[in-house]
Amino acid sequence: MWIYEKKLEYPVNIKNPNPALAKVIISQLGGPDGEIGASLRYLSQRFSMPYREIAGLLTDVGTEELAHVEIVSTILYQLTRGMCVEEIKKSGFDTYFVDHTAGIYPQAASGVPFTAAALQSKGDIITDLNEDLAAEQKARTTYDNILRLVDDPDVREPIKFLRAREIVHYQRFAEALGIAQERSGCKTNYYITNPSFDTGCNPTCPEPQRYTDPNAGEWCEHRPDNNSYRHYRHSAGIDPKRSF
């Protein structure tokens, strides 16, 4: 459940409309690394996240991304207000105008409409969190590229805010990946099982079970979780002791 707040997360007041800038900034609305995709990615992935704090993080970041959809849309709306036909032709905005006038439509700068094909919800916590880390960096790169193309400080300020949020979200997802690895019984090996699918095989085992890699020494230890030990059997038939 969400409740709308009639305010932006960060203010946007663009004095000079500039449809040419809208043509590139629109990628952060409906492009491959845009805010709509970010929001849907996290809000979809959270259901198969077995650890509450990470499911909570996905909910909170996914919610903030909705606020970023609104900020990017506001930038586009203000950049394209009061356009005359001459300006539309000269700026190259005509190819968008013909389909959408000055309406806000989620598409990439290339004109490709928003597609969920640019995001993934894999039902595997290590896979999903790695996707999220990459997604935040891809969005950060896109904002860097937008800042390389934009001089107007009225536009740069909210874009800089959005860019900074990508970096904070990346930090939080990296912490979440650490928590996920620790909880699923492994700190030093980056993958062992998928605890959102593979079932615990020996929940009452009194001792943490250690696996040893003869080359690297001890690499994996099942750790206490809610006063019991969770051991996971890899249901794809892979023995975690011999998975590398």
Partner: protein
């Protein structure tokens, strides 16, 4: 709305935005550090500031959430649903 009113609306809104952002940012941190007492105290402070700034804004300029529509009755005028008629967030702040 004249220029002075617009400016004071903008200032009141900034207070809400600053406090709200502080709360959002601290909550994200707490999601991955749920036992951090210092951060919990900070979140409590930011949430109180957010509540105060939101109440101050809403009493003068209109609702931020639909539940604040009790401020809709203005003296000497016909009561109306202010939530429906107050500015949308993407409108330029003219000041």
């Amino acid at each position: 709305m004249n220029r002075t009113e617009a400016k004071s609306r903008q200032n009141a809104l900034r207070e809400v935005q600053i406090a709200s952002f502080s709360a959002i940012e601290t909550a994200l941190y707490l999601d991955t550090h749920p036992y951090d007492g210092e951060a919990m105290a900070a979140l409590k402070k930011y949430c109180a500031a957010r509540e105060a700034a939101t109440a101050a804004y809403e009493s003068e300029f209109g609702p931020i959430t639909v539940c604040a529509c009790s401020t809709a009755v203005e003296e000497g005028s016909r009561p109306y649903f202010k939530w429906a008629l107050s500015p949308m967030p993407w409108e330029i702040e003219e000041c």
